[in-house]
């Protein structure tokens, strides 16, 4: 998963989410998987998927939102919520500030609502550019509020995960966000709410071990790294080399952990089918 780090740096030079979309013509990018060089403009047209090998580039929350929703149909919630540094962790607030500048986001998740093929949907999109997409108090609270909003308004919930796990700098409070988000989803589920989880690269640790695994439908993007423990820790613990495809979306599918691995180009189509099936309702209960 070295690619993930090198690519992160490339994104890091772009100042804001908006700017990231307006990459000037003529700029090229080399596919980390097949090494083919492609125009960014061309990549953008193909939803940031390499047309030569199918590699799915990680994308920012803003780009994902543009890609997902019907045109001009979405609004953002809780944009200005920030962490209060509960542990008084040294340097944490500075790091948050620098990630804010880097990504144009206030935190590692975007939440809001919009239309997907005409279906109004509550959506959360994590952005791994912000503190590795880690979950602390703000991510947990924004997700919980989103689920509660969907519950009150009878909307389906879709969460795009992209996270290294719980946020270390908020310690046990980050850990407890796992319980908080899972509890909110349980209440939502009990009230008949539809939740679709879409795991993108990477979905690991405390995010994988909470809301990301709790969808009525669990999907993933091709090639996404998904798992609880890190590969290096597992290799050290069991003293053996792990197979190349270990903890990929395809590996999870094979082991019964996912409903489907869905290429980005087909996502809206699959989602609209699910939303239409659910909108039609069921038999009398």
């Amino acid at each position: 998963m070295k690619d993930f780090f090198t690519k992160k740096k490339k994104y890091a030079t772009v100042p804001s989410a908006k700017a990231r979309q307006d990459v000037p013509e003529g700029i090229v990018r080399k596919c980390p998987k097949c090494k083919k060089i492609m125009y960014v403009k061309e990549l953008q047209k193909h939803l940031f998927v390499c047309q030569s090998c199918g590699y799915h580039y990680p994308i920012s929350a803003q780009v994902r939102a543009e890609m997902l929703f019907d045109q001009n149909s979405y609004v953002e919630f809780d944009r200005n919520m920030v962490s209060l540094n509960p542990l008084q962790f040294p340097n944490y607030l500075n790091k948050l500030e620098s990630d804010r500048k880097k990504t144009g986001l206030n935190e590692a998740v975007w939440t809001g609502k919009g239309m997907i093929e005409g279906y109004e949907t509550a959506v959360a999109i994590m952005d791994k550019g912000f503190r590795m997409g880690s979950m602390g108090s703000v991510v947990g609270e924004k997700l919980t509020r989103l689920v509660e909003y969907a519950d009150q308004n009878g909307l389906p919930v879709i969460i795009f995960s992209a996270s290294g796990g719980a946020r270390m700098q908020e310690g046990v409070l980050s850990l407890m966000q796992m319980a908080k988000t899972s509890a909110a989803l349980k209440t939502f589920s009990k009230n008949g709410g539809l939740y679709i989880s879409i795991m993108t690269h990477p979905t690991t640790g405390g995010v994988s071990a909470s809301f990301a695994s709790l969808g009525d439908y669990n999907f993933a993007e091709p090639g996404a790294l998904i798992g609880f423990a890190g590969r290096r820790i597992i290799e050290q613990t069991i003293g053996e080399k792990l197979p190349e495809d270990f903890q990929t979306a395809e590996f999870l599918l094979k082991h019964g952990q996912l409903d489907q691995v869905i290429p980005r180009s087909e996502l809206r189509n699959v989602l609209s089918r699910i939303l239409s099936i659910h909108a039609a309702g069921g038999v009398e209960g």
Binding site: V75, E76, F77, D78, R79, N80, M81, V82, S83, L84, N85, P86, L87, F89, N106, S137, V138, G140, E141, A166, R167, M168, Q169, E170, G171, V172, L173, L175, M176, Q177, M178, A179, K180, S182, A183, K186, T187, S189, G206, S208, A209, S210, F211, A212, S213, L214, I226, G227, F228, A229, I234, T237, I238, E240, L242, F246, Q247, H255, G256, Q257
Partner: protein, 335 residues
Amino acid sequence: MGPELDFEKPIFELQKKISELKTFMDEKGIDLSDELNHLQERLKDLEKETYGSMTPWERVRVARKLNRPTTLDYLPLLFTDFVECHGDRLYGDDPAIVAGIAKFHGRPVTVIGEQRGRDTKENIMRNYGMPHPEGYRKALRLMQQAEKFRRPIITFIDTKGAFPGKAAEERGQSEAIARNLFEMSWLSVPVICVVIGEGASGGALAIGVGNQILMLENSWYSVISPEGAAALLWKDAGKAEVAAKTMKITGSDLKKLGIIDKLIPEVLGGAHHDPGKQAEIIDQALIDSLKELSPLSAEQIRQQRLTKYRAIGDYETVQGNQSDQKGNNRDNKMR
């Protein structure tokens, strides 16, 4: 008292001196009881001083002592009629989690605890107390059974984490943990969780979503171990001692943060100095907690737990925005 830790060294040295003096008195028939009394007084003071002001890292090391009482040590001291129940009915049985039914002061309860070994052989058998998905699924099976028969659930948390292994990932370690958080949140019987040793990350939380969270004085509970935190944050696992302080992982830290409900004191020097006495202290804490929860109806039990977790978080909304509510939760904890 098991292998000594460096900070305990002066105590052990003084104990040795006292026993040498006693031997000398016996052998020579000389009365040096003034001297002996003096040394014994000094020992008492030293113990109080040393154990009364332990650093977070010292507590972590006490929590890890091989002879520290585990779930299986407390079980016969706290419960009667224990019947162990094995297996998740899906894949297998995980010896890293012990579960079953028992009576607590005559009252039926379900007991679930993480179980490490008390020696190398047992540690290998119990996978060092690091559960696989089948362990968490066994726990969930027993919790749902408790819900059916309306029994309170008491869990004992003591793990270095969910096992990071190949098979564990293949069988859905993440899903097993997530499922427990999801289902535990909605149980309508009282759930009391006691951190008795180590409480590392999702592997601890997976049996830790309770109406009340209790924690022994020399246990720790966090998002990651101090070593893990040091390696991740500062690329130096050697800074674990610093991380133990910075990450705020001890019982008193968590009490201050409003995450746990009760800090259970330990016998001087740690639970392993007197497991029987320690069990009595835990017993009283459990009696109190059950009593506090007993006036609540099934629905109130569920709501109390949901409200408790809903309130955890430390954030604020920085500037006006039509969709925002004021969200500083700092003074808003429902405890």
